[in-house]
Point group: C2
């Protein structure tokens, strides 16, 4: 955890315990620091799992293994190492992961591929096997930790711990989701990978959980950007212990499937927003709403082109209603658009319409909106029914300071 807390930070909420889920933390000493850096979450027998992973082709061993493990759909434990990402470390990095999987599996009496491992931190240095072995041995028998402590322990350059919760009524059973996440840039100096973990006591078939998680990801984690860079380790896992006692959700026709899907979507969106709110150097949270595109996919691409534009992000940092930069970003997105049908708003005020500045628009509410912390930009393409919302933060001197003003 970093010293200076993001001005966009929100307090850690009260997260309910999830039956069948027990977090524990310890210090493996992956870096020369006093904090805990090893998180172990024990999952009761019968826990099912789904996961989404980075599309970065140079991914870590943890991601390669995780992709295979979720196919089987069974999980008994999660281990998260902080301080060393174990990425770009070849066979030695893979050996370290397999050692952890075997060690935890022996303790729990489960198969090694029911043990999920994530690592985040410096790259190019194989995770030290001796520190991992000793740390895991300790953490397995630690007293249970709070969600907030677990959220702190998986963090690296984050400036505040991040968690959220939601509930759903499935049949007549209340199902709860509690979730934690870390990440503050797509990658930071020490690879500030996004790692998110969702735990539910609901019973749900892993194939359907995977489908729901994939759909929720499209509208949450895949709709945020801090700096357009993509970590080699990004991972979101959803674990379902089934302890709530609901009739197992098998598909959309199962009772409560929609309610569960909505709760999962909500959790993913909250987690995604928390990552943006801890964006490196962020001073403002920016929502970009695109309407009127030829398709939802096209709308999202346009939204991300705007969200990734350094010139748009610096304009917002400068509290400048520079709609010309938004036009530029729409035009470079490579998606259908018509300059003379474009409309752009800041907050609730349309500043450009039909390819022209709106003559005599009221600048006072625009200026007031841009001075705030939560900025909303609207773009109507004027061609179709496609819509999307994406989120990002502004680009400030803080980002440069975090990423350039240091020596490794």
């Amino acid at each position: 955890m970093s010293d200076a807390v993001s001005p966009l930070a929100s307090p850690f909420p009260t997260l309910p315990a999830i039956a069948g889920v027990t977090p524990r933390i310890a210090r493996a000493g992956y870096k020369d620091w006093g904090r805990c850096d090893l998180t172990y979450v024990e999952l009761s027998e019968g826990t099912e799992v789904a996961g989404v992973f980075t599309k970065n082709i140079c991914c870590s061993s943890e991601v390669e293994l995780g992709r295979e493990q979720v196919k089987a759909g069974h999980a008994r434990a999660l281990i998260v190492n902080a301080g060393n990402s174990n990425a770009f470390t070849g066979y030695r990095g893979r050996e370290a992961v397999e050692q952890i999987m075997a060690q935890v599996a022996a303790h729990l009496g489960c198969a090694p591929d029911e043990v999920f491992v994530s690592s985040t931190g410096v790259i190019g240095v194989p995770l030290p096997k001796d520190k991992a072995r000793e740390g895991v041995a300790r953490v397995l028998t630690e007293v249970p930790a709070s969600w907030e402590d677990a959220a702190r322990t998986i963090s690296t350059t984050d400036t505040f711990p991040k968690g959220t919760t939601a509930t759903a009524i499935v049949g007549d059973t209340k199902v709860t989701l509690s979730a934690i996440i870390k990440g503050s840039g797509m990658i930071a100096p020490n690879m500030a990978t996004m790692l998110g973990y969702i735990f539910t006591d609901g019973a749900i078939a892993p194939a359907f959980l995977q489908e729901l998680l994939g759909a929720a990801t499209e509208r949450s984690f895949n709709c945020i950007t801090v700096d357009s860079d993509t970590s080699t380790s990004d991972t979101v896992l959803a674990f379902a212990t089934g302890k709530a006692g609901n009739a197992r959700i098998e598909g959309y026709d199962s009772p409560g499937a929609d309610a569960f899907a909505a709760a999962l979507s909500d959790v993913c969106l909250q987690l995604a927003h928390l990552v943006v709110r801890d964006g490196e150097g962020a001073q403002k949270f920016i929502e970009i709403r695109v309407t009127g595109a030829v398709s939802d996919t096209s709308a999202r691409r346009i939204g991300l082109a705007i969200a990734n534009s350094p010139l748009v992000k610096t304009a917002i940092a400068g509290e400048d209603a520079n709609w010309g930069r938004v036009v530029m970003a729409v035009g470079k997105a490579g998606e259908p658009a018509d300059r003379d049908r474009l409309a752009i708003r800041f907050g609730d005020v349309w500043v450009a319409r039909d390819g022209l500045a709106v003559a005599g628009y009221d600048e006072a509410p625009v200026a007031a909106h841009l001075k705030g912390q939560d900025i909303r930009i609207g773009v109507d393409i004027g061609l179709g029914d496609g819509t999307a919302t994406v989120w990002t933060c502004d680009l400030t001197h803080g980002y440069i300071s975090i990423n350039a003003d240091y020596r490794s």
Copy 2:
């Protein structure tokens, strides 16, 4: 022109006059400034032209018109307005351009579509027709200006004037190219569009000139990036007066075609480098050489993914040999790559190979290289024969200051 000159600036070279080309400058007063802001280049009868334009779909009227004009291949004049880009101004912007074309055409007794117009500066404000009319009336009869004065007059946020020259022996005739360019971000606060103009006394068929210019652009202007943003007005035009007296170059089989092509390529590359050297906030010029990709196209995409990565660019600003960020950028490019075959060098020292840090590489020459102004990064993908070289600059506090620390 800005006050603080880029540390990467190079002095304006001695550019030869081109027979049949006469630059003139004047002050139209598009902004409230004392400098000249209107450039007129008169071209002798029979001048042929080729051009490449921004791919930004929200392009200016000037670009829309220019694309049509180059198809005819004839040119008698170029007008460049600085201080107002006339972009996103609807029919009123287009009327202003057409007025200029008609006014110059009447003076020269040529067709309006032989008059090329570019505009650069603030957007969303139609080019004032009265100022344009009076400015054009004055500039048409001004005394000839130097190339350096013309280069200064087309500039907006540039910190130094930019020009270059080359010669080629075509048959037994010496052919000369002189060229000027402006641009310091893909777009700056006031839309620092890239506008480049190449003038030659060579005789060359416009269709073949277009082919050569397109090919040269692929390896020059399309291989540079300052901030990944694409102006709505980017334009490069090549004008050939034919006054050198060479046998007209009709295609690759014509005598001297290769020599002319090489000179044109060289001019384009020099102009492209000059734009990067004036990149907003740039402290270092970065060359990224990609080898071993599955194709040249793939290599360029990987190179641009590295060059556009804020994390790579801030690492270079921090003089940090952070090869992990280069790995990340390779992996997010969406091109074939194999983590375990990747090799990365800074300067001439390979720091990672076969997916691992090179054990015990000599850090002293790497650190010394990164302290310099001209940084070279090499990436070998290890899969094929595809190669590309791209150029960018570092991302510094200066970029944020230029683009965020102001109010419009």
